[in-house]
Amino acid sequence: MREQLEAIRAAALSAMEGAANAEDLEALRVRYLGKKGDLTAVLKQMGKLSAEERPVVGQLANEIRAKLEAAIEKRAGELAAAALAVRLRAEAVDVTIPGEPRRLGRQHPMYQVLDEIKDIFIGMGFEVIEDREVELAEYNFTKLNVEEGHPAREWSDTFYFTEDSSILLRTQTSPMQIHAMESRPLPIRMIAPGRVYRKDEVDATHSPMFHQIEGMAIDKGITMADLKGTLNAVVKSLYGEDTVTRFRPHHFPFTEPSCEMDIQCYKCRGAGCPTCKGEGWIEVLGAGMIHPKVLEGCGIDSSVYSGWAFGFGLERLALGQYKISDLRLIFENDVRFLEQF
């Protein structure tokens, strides 16, 4: 009987190790360990054994059962791993096949630049204001110290709605300075972006409608040093920490002193190249200390309050930032253009 058991063990172990799949393995389990299996059949003959032999053979039979069960489990694990490997191989994909298209829309490049600027000023405690585009000449010119007879007021330069030249399409964002001064409590720190209109034919650098952004701070004791410091900080945020700037005297009717700010050409670092037309510098914006006439015209006591203001064109900034060669692309809105940004 002992020999029988040993024979079963040897045969079963070898068969189990050779099992090719889960079904074969199950069949082996039934054949050797099942109720009608070989091992059970042998054990049924235990009664024939002597009282001394019975526990010894019983123990052997249990050992063999445990061994065979362990062998089944091991083989089952191996077969499962092999089957999984086969499945994974079969499921492999060509990862270079493009994914299912999911197209996100794009913000217009110019408004991306605008949002960047807004965020910079918001971070410095400024507000963003907007106002009307159909404007009174009084706000677009007179209150900004642009006198009657100034060339900018000519019908060749400005779009008018009335014969008496009193209502127009604003030519600059600066009238929003006046609206802010007249309607807001002091101190004021604001930027004011928007559409402006001038009578320029469309070409690579001109458009009858374009965008400007205006900035203004009014408080007690505001100085030109504050203007310079603030603009330097803004330009560094926009163009990078290592941006070099310079300020030049200039003329605007509504600021005095007035200046223009240049940045050192980012291409040639000031040596002179085609990007900066050989000058080494690129003009970025116009600015200055708000003219006392403008403050007084809005009911602000210029002996107590002072302020600075700046303004610049957004299109030129966006064109420069994205290396766009032609202004017309901005307003053409070709999706092949828009999706590049």
């Binding site: 829309g105 913000q107 949002d115 405690g125 009307r132 404007e135 409608m209 040093a225 809105n333 999706v335």
Partner: protein, 803 residues
């Protein structure tokens, strides 16, 4: 303003200052340098040659073989076809390797078998004209010895030609801001340069040699309109001898970008360039009655100007007239009827001050902006006329161009008093954020020829007459800052009271709305605010539509940009069409743009509209509507309703809906009417939406409040009912919701079926319903009861029966 560096050196010697330093420092003190160039820069390796020998070419009957001394050890041989030279003449010789204007290169070669080691040049080949060299032959070689002034200066063989003929000045073009017309002159820029480089300005006081007599015996001057002509100063010159100007004067006029003509005309231009005061010279024999009247033109008067063009004059135009007729358009251009010609014997020099706006408008109306008018239009120094006419007469005597009659007529009815200002060093420093000493401020102002007068302990500034732009403390601050250096002002961050700043709720909503559109694949566009009135026809707007009442630009660039849009749809469709025409297969576009609705006060209400447009990529009504719904969900707008909109002429009457939040209309969307698409030439379905930004903003939901997630399972029941075609899904849904009571959580449409098994005119509509209670698991009896109520309500209310 184009400035000759040589001319400048006469007033402030900057000959040791490099181009770069000059340009940088002038720019930083406020005179912005636009370009700098050297005359004759294109000419290379061209020298003065002396013709030693000329023999006929053996194979040509018109060419000469010349032996020329070009300052080298041996003469060189050059073949030329020119005939105006003789042995001993000095001519420009382009040596092998030479370059001429226009990029022409000269090399050694053979002409009809005879070696030629260069080329003899005409002045045209050097880029010059007979105006520059009036004594020399234009059709032939430039014979240098034909110009007496050049010979007097001394020219030697081998010398670089540009240097020998003075064609090597450095010319600097400045961008002069309109507040500084005084800088449209050599003197004005010299004053700026002197202050910039800290060097003294050498001014010249004209001294006029006269021949006796009295101008008043010959001429009379009246100003009819002193507002347009505040001052008119004149002198008379007799026995005029018209001739070319001397070389030094021609050189300076050329370097300044003008053209030498003759001595009298050149003197007027020279003085204009030097003093910034435009002048005019009349042939006095053509001034009827010797009487100058400064008046506006009469209706019907006309004039032929010096450029030969005839102009009708209007009563808005100021003219210089004699007793009968206009002889000059004031400040713009002289008349042909009093032009300086070869036999002019008596000249009246005009040095006048005119109203800038009037000159500009006249020049614009006549389409002739001149060197004079572009100076006058900025408003010139009224004190400059006298000095300028004196300078002109000094030059007349110096050039031997005539004899100056004694006396000056100077009509100057209202001489203004000089402007004075207190020097306020503290105010200046607190505006600039600097700590500049009062003495430094005085030094700067003095260097600009501002007067300084002590008044007790204080200082009064006397503003020079040419500085009409300086009227207040802030102007003085700018003068101080310019020469202290803008870049020496410290950089500080804006001080003062802390402000809260930040985006408003509406601005945040605007950003969120844009982000929602983009997440749905829509690209942002920017369209013009003005459109053509014909665009209203293109979108089939009825003739009597109130939207046709637009603000009209009275001076538009063209019809296409002539009115302010009252609807954003045409702008959107323009862009859709453009993309379609560019063969882009699909486009999804959005814009948050303004429309402009006229108001009674002449201004506009300018509400914003969220416009969306789409074509291609299998877009259909429900895909488009899905995008609209997603945007409304992103805005947390609740109680959204859609109603059929069959009466908007721009949209397909069966595929257009109005959107509401409760009872508030949000806008309209749908498929663009095929007739509109056809008018735009788009042969595919186009979808568009126009949603009021203000309405969306008003309807937007606040901060959402958390609802506990369900703890108990839901029961899902499907239901299919058959109803008439006219019953909408919306009506069925409403009915289901009303009948369901508190347990219904979701209703979703999953099928609409028409066909076999369903009678014509009817349809089968299937919904999936989710029922759930928050506090217990539903029993099937409860779910069945709810379904029973729904089925009955559908049958009773909408004649919709279980399929």
């Amino acid at each position: 303003m184009i400035l000759s560096r040589r001319w400048l050196n006469e007033f402030v010697d900057l000959s040791d200052v490099s181009d770069k330093r000059f340009n940088d420092e002038m720019t930083l003190s406020g005179s912005k340098v636009e370009t700098v160039s050297r005359e004759g820069a294109e000419i290379k390796n061209v020298v003065v040659g002396k013709i030693l020998e000329m023999v006929r070419h053996e194979n040509s009957d018109h060419m000469w073989v010349c032996q020329i001394d070009v300052g080298q050890d041996r003469p060189i041989q050059v073949v030329t076809g020119a005939q105006n030279q003789k042995v001993g003449d000095l001519v420009p010789v382009a040596l092998p390797g030479a370059e001429l204007p226009g990029g022409k290169k000269i090399e050694s070669g053979a002409l009809r078998g005879v070696r030629s080691d260069g080329m003899c040049c005409s002045f045209a080949e050097l880029g010059m004209t007979e105006h520059d060299w009036p004594h020399s032959e234009a059709n032939g070689l430039f014979v240098l010895n034909s110009d007496p002034d050049l010979m007097a200066r001394g020219v030697r063989p081998g010398e670089e030609i540009t240097q020998a003929i003075g064609f090597d000045d450095t010319v600097v073009e400045f961008e002069i801001t309109p507040n500084r017309p005084d800088c449209l002159s050599v003197l004005g820029l010299a004053r700026e340069a002197g202050a910039t480089f800290g060097r003294a300005l050498t001014l010249h006081r004209p001294e006029v040699k006269t021949c006796g007599g009295d101008i008043r015996e010959h001429a009379r001057i009246d100003i009819d309109d002193p507002a347009l002509c505040p001052r008119y100063t004149a002198r008379l010159v007799k026995n005029v001898k018209i001739a070319p100007s001397p070389l030094w004067m021609r050189e300076r006029i050329r370097a300044a970008g003008m053209r030498p003509i003759n001595n009298i005309v050149d003197i007027t231009n020279y003085v204009m360039l030097e003093y910034g005061q435009p002048m005019h010279a009349f042939d006095f024999s053509c001034v009827d009655g010797g009487h100058i009247v400064v008046r506006t033109a009469k209706e019907g008067e006309s004039i032929q100007t010096l450029d030969g063009k005839d102009h009708a004059l209007t009563p808005a135009m100021l003219c210089i007239c004699d007793e009968h007729k206009p002889v000059c358009v004031a400040g713009v251009m002289g008349g042909a009827n009093s032009e300086i010609v070869g036999d002019t014997a008596m000249v009246l020099f005009e040095s006048a001050n005119f109203n800038g706006v009037s000159v500009r408008r006249t020049a614009t109306a006549l389409g002739m902006r001149t060197d004079a008018s572009s100076r006058y239009e900025k408003g010139l120094d009224v004190q400059n006329t006298y000095k300028a006419v004196e300078r002109a007469c000094e030059l007349v005597a110096q050039l031997g161009a005539g004899e100056v009659v004694d006396g000056v007529i100077d009509v100057f009815p209202n001489e203004p008093a000089p402007v004075t200002l207190p020097l306020e060093p503290e105010a200046v420093n607190s505006l600039l954020g600097t700590d500049i000493a009062a003495d430094e401020m005085k030094r700067i102002l003095a260097s600009l020829d501002f007067g300084l007068e002590s008044e007790g302990g204080a200082t009064r500034i006397v503003v020079p007459s040419w500085r009409g732009d300086v009227r207040a403390m802030c102007d003085i601050a700018e003068e101080v800052a310019r020469f202290h250096g803008y870049n020496s002002i410290p950089n500080t961050l804006t001080k003062g009271e802390t402000t809260r700043g930040g985006f408003t709720a509406v601005q945040k909503f605007e950003r969120a709305l844009g982000a929602a559109c983009r997440s749905l694949g829509y690209d942002e566009i920017i369209t013009y605010s003005f459109i053509s009135p014909s665009y209203y026809d293109k979108i089939r707007l009825p003739e009597d539509s109130p939207l046709r009442k637009s603000l009209k630009i009275l001076n538009p660039l063209g019809e296409d940009t002539s009115i302010m849009r009252t609807t954003i749809l045409p702008s959107l469709l323009e862009i859709v069409t453009r993309n379609y025409n560019y063969r882009n297969k699909a486009a999804r576009l959005y814009e948050l743009g303004k429309i402009y609705l006229p108001r009674a006060d002449g201004l506009a209400d300018e509400p914003r509209v969220l416009a969306l447009g789409a074509y291609g990529d299998e877009i259909d009504f429900f895909r488009f509507k899905g995008a609209i719904e997603a945007i409304l969900r992103a805005a947390r707008i609740s109680d959204v309703r859609f109603e059929t909109c069959g009466d908007n002429p721009s949209y397909h009457p069966g595929r257009c809906a109005r959107v509401f939040a409760g009872d508030t209309p949000l806008g309209v969307f749908g498929e663009i009417h095929p007739l509109v698409s056809a008018l735009y030439g788009v042969e595919t379905a186009v979808y568009a939406a126009e949603l009021s930004f203000e309405a969306l903003c008003g309807a937007r939901g606040g901060k959402p409040e958390y609802r506990p997630l369900p703890k108990f399972p839901a029961a899902t029941r499907d239901i299919a009912v058959v109803c008439a075609e006219t019953v909408t899904v919306g009506a069925l849904e409403d009915c289901i919701r009303r009948a369901a009571g508190g347990l219904l959580r979701e209703v979703s449409l999953f099928d609409i079926y028409r066909g076999p098994g369903i009678l014509p005119g009817r349809k089968s509509v299937a919904f999936s319903l989710v029922l759930r209670a928050d506090d217990r698991s539903l029993t099937s009896e409860e779910a069945d009861a709810t379904m029973q109520r729904i089925v009955s309500a559908l049958a009773d209310g909408l004649d919709a029966h279980l399929r």
